[in-house]
């Protein structure tokens, strides 16, 4: 009885994981209205990243990657949350906000 339940759960896990993997690999990234892709500042004409990007990489980016979808309506909230969590100054907050929502 126990063995069959474990097998069923393991099978279910495998199916869910495989579905997620396949879906993520094959489907194009959805771009709902009102959401922003990575800011233009991520691909500047020169190789010199701007101040905001540097600060994002040096603080927020040390723990997690850039969100794939970021609605412009929450950029201020995201950065304020990071200001508290990463001990950013008000100046850092402004620079990163300018990078996220140019």
């Amino acid at each position: 009885m126990k063995g069959s339940i474990v097998k069923q759960l393991a099978l279910m896990t495998s199916i869910i994981s495989t579905t997620l993997v396949l879906a993520a690999q094959t489907s194009p990234a959805p771009k709902p209205a009102g959401t922003a892709a990575k800011p233009a500042a991520k691909a500047p004409s020169t190789n010199q990243p701007d101040v905001g990007q540097r600060k994002f990489d040096a603080n927020c980016g040390r723990c997690h990657s850039f969100p794939e979808q970021l609605s412009p309506s929450i950029t201020g909230t995201v950065v304020r949350h990071m200001r508290v969590r990463a001990n950013l100054s008000a100046e850092d907050e402004k620079d990163i906000l300018r990078f996220l929502a140019p």
Binding site: S17, P72, T77, H81
Partner: protein, 356 residues
């Protein structure tokens, strides 16, 4: 056991079906944040995941959702909270018998942040204890490289969160160095959802942006029951041009001490971070704990060594698969631990924001 699960079990009073509490608080935050301006709409973020663990031949399963709510209020205030809802499904008798679910839901923190000056933030409420780095930065299931928290994780954090007041911010910064601090005082609290212990402590760190090197020291003193000090030391190094992250912590508590060192190298230098190979991230963690005296500090009862070998895969659309094999050595017995985690990170406005 994941850090979040551990915290939930440590926090007495949180275990139980408390979804009404969570929904009530989220609703209150939504009402408070309804005056947000164009970029400051309240948000819902967090992670949802499915965790499997096979420890010593016993398999456990755990579906988890850990939503974060952040609600800015005006120019200087932020209310933020993280909930943890999961069902831990494991054999009823520990390692045999039918499987049984152990549901719990509760808040991990609920805090009000006041941005007092450009470099000082005052926090009140139930906040994550600022000891070392893991508790504040790596406990979200969509961030951590391993499903399990480090063995020394319980040292210095009391219940994971503290109830009281915290002062934190940036003491000094220029292009070459940043000095950050966090100090807190916590009161003893038996209030359900907001349990805390009387304690004080903090963390001070120096970060060198040019080198991407951070060194931090932490201190915590428990001021109730069997009073005791805990000290911590942490080093993070993430060189700019190499996708390598080395993180480490050492902690010394009243009854035990230990360390962990983790290295993660994402293969993004092969055909870019979006190639199938560039999405792979091998991870290795070494950890040891040393028992100095008997005590209930949630660390292993005997000296323990553990090596964790992980292989993580970063899929598109914020989906991530973490797999790991660990071998744990202790005089009480050696064990193999296999773990798999599938997580999805979400981030969206709580409602449609106002236009500019």
């Amino acid at each position: 056991m994941t850090a979040t699960s551990l915290l939930m079990r440590l926090k007495e009073g949180l275990i139980g079906p408390n979804t009404t509490w969570i929904l009530s608080i989220l609703l209150l935050l939504a009402i408070l944040g309804s005056k947000a301006d164009a970029q400051n709409t309240p948000l819902i973020s967090g992670g949802v995941g499915f965790l499997t663990t096979t420890n010593g031949g016993v398999t456990a399963l755990q579906p988890v959702i850990a939503p974060v709510a952040a609600v800015p209020l005006g120019e200087h205030l932020l209310v933020e909270s993280r909930a943890y809802i999961s069902d831990f499904i494991a054999p009823k008798n520990g390692n045999s018998g039918p499987y049984e679910g152990d549901f719990f839901a509760g808040l991990q923190y609920l805090q009000l942040d006041y941005l007092a000056t450009p470099k000082v933030t005052l926090t009140v409420g139930d906040f994550l204890t600022p000891f070392a780095t893991y508790n504040e930065r790596l406990t979200p299931i969509w961030i951590s490289n391993f499903q399990d928290a480090p063995l020394i994780f319980p040292i210095g954090i009391q219940n994971g969160s503290s109830v009281g007041v915290m002062l934190r911010g940036n003491a000094y910064s220029d292009h070459h160095v940043r000095l950050n601090y966090a100090g807190y005082f916590s009161v003893s609290s038996d209030v359900p959802q907001f349990t805390g212990e009387r304690a004080s402590g903090g963390r001070f760190s120096m970060y060198l942006p040019d080198k991407r090197l951070e060194i931090g020291v932490s201190y915590s003193r428990l001021l109730q029951g069997q009073q005791g000090n805990s000290e911590g030391f942490d080093v993070w190094w993430q060189p700019y041009r190499v996708p390598l992250a080395i993180r480490s912590e050492y902690a010394h508590g009243p009854h035990s001490q230990g360390y962990w060192v983790e290295a993660a190298y994402r293969l993004s230098q092969w055909n870019g971070p979006d190639s199938w190979l560039g999405r792979l991230e091998p991870v290795f963690r070494m950890q040891q704990t040393f028992r100095d005296s008997p005590g209930q500090d949630q660390l292993p009862a005997v000296n323990t060594q553990r090596a964790d070998f992980g292989l993580d895969y970063h899929l598109p659309h914020e989906v991530r698969v973490n797999t790991s094999y660990s071998r744990q050595f202790a005089s009480t017995g050696n064990t193999n631990i296999w773990e798999t985690t599938v997580t999805y990170r979400f981030l969206f406005p709580a409602w449609k924001g106002r236009s500019k």
